[in-house]
């Protein structure tokens, strides 16, 4: 069986797993890219407040065509809407909410995550790349829980969950949980604890996919 034949979750299935782990009443920041999909799975009656670091708590879904407002955007500069109870604030307060430990969960995309929870998601390190960090470093250290959502392997089949990150770090020792298309992992002192595997993927298959990373299957 090749890697391509092994079962995997779709983006929606990954997002649903992240969403299911967010508690009613939580304040959450969803990073740019894959994590934005999580919002679609939070519309089940729970009150979960979405934070965006450009100055809004209580972000709603994308507006209908024609209802976009240039001045109402998210951190990815996409148009959004407001939910009742929303509030605006300036950038220093937006980041105080993170750094100050007021945000419950932050979900980020990543190039690589190490088995110690080091996060690399801002820079490929290529010499001619124009660096841009935005709020990535602040987000990674800010929330009480930093979760990553990413495929287990790159399109080229390279591992993204690694013993040590090759890419420049966004924040060392910051990620507590990783949601991939093959499994969900908790990062613990003893290694990676497998919380859930996609149905049909054996423990051996998963161990083969992740390689040198220490895996702990639930007892």
């Amino acid at each position: 069986m090749t890697v391509e034949d092994l079962p995997r979750w779709s983006l929606d299935e990954m997002a649903a797993r992240v969403a299911a782990d967010i508690a009613d009443g939580a304040v959450v920041n969803l990073g740019i890219g894959m994590p934005t999909k999580v919002a679609d799975h939070l519309l089940d009656g729970r009150e979960i407040v979405l934070h965006t670091e450009n100055g809004l708590l209580g972000m709603g879904p994308a507006p209908n065509d024609g209802d976009e407002d240039r001045d109402l955007i998210n951190a990815g500069k996409q148009p959004v809407t407001l939910v009742p109870g929303a509030s605006f604030f300036h950038h220093a307060d937006a980041f105080a909410m993170m750094r100050g430990g007021h945000l419950d969960v932050c979900v980020l995309g990543a190039f690589q995550v190490s088995m110690h929870g080091d996060l690399a998601n801002w820079h490929t390190g290529e010499p001619d790349a124009i660096p841009a960090v935005g709020g990535a470093m602040d987000l990674a250290i800010g929330a009480r829980d930093t979760w990553v959502m990413m495929p287990l392997l790159t399109r080229e089949g390279e591992r993204k969950l690694v013993p040590v990150c090759d890419y420049p770090l966004t924040a060392p020792n910051s990620v507590s949980r990783v949601y991939t298309d093959r499994a969900v992992f908790d990062i613990t002192a003893g290694g990676l604890l497998v919380r859930e595997r996609v149905e049909g993927l054996g423990a051996d298959d998963l161990a083969h996919l992740v390689g040198d990373v220490v895996l702990e299957e639930p007892a």
Binding site: R70, I141, L169, P172
Partner: protein, 228 residues
Amino acid sequence: MIDKIVPDLETAVSDVRDGHTVLVGGFGTAGMPFALVDALIEHGARDLTIVSNNAGNGETGLAALLKAGQVRKVVCSFPRQPDSWVFDELYRSGELELELVPQGNLAERLRAAGAGIGAFYSPTAVGTQLAEGRETRRIDGRDYVLEYPIRGDVALIKALRGDRWGNLVYRMTARNFAPVMAMAAETTIVEVHEVVELGALDPEVVVTPGIFVQHVVQVTDPFVDGAA
């Protein structure tokens, strides 16, 4: 009598000098003071250091200022965007210096300048390239990196309404960096959609008190009226 209202954009930016550090509000195009930036291009001040979250979109606003060759250095968090080709080219050719600052540190360094803080320790960027060679300290078991304030000679910001004392309210996420930039600059210049009578702004909802503002110029924005 206090009257910070100036009659036109040319007067508003007349205090800018060559070599100044200019704080420019906005997150992408939301809150970008396009009229003031255009006035700064017309004014012609050179050798500027620009502090802003991004480094220009397309060929307007900050991108146009960069293209006009008036900028020596950019301090920002996110220069690279799909439409930042003006910045990209100047940066790659070495004509433009870049200081990359994580977004929250950028905001807090501006706030610190406005609040008279000498420096502060931030947990952001510890253990990364952006903290290499910098002073760090462990406080209560957590590591922090020393960050210095960013002061502006001038701030150019945009607000929804202002009065002749310089009290301001903003419009949604266009607020972003404007309140901390207003505090951090020697001279803060605001383009407002509407100048209102003193007393018309509810004191309970004033976001930037006039003490942080020096000049206000009305630039009516047809988009705002259309959206209202």
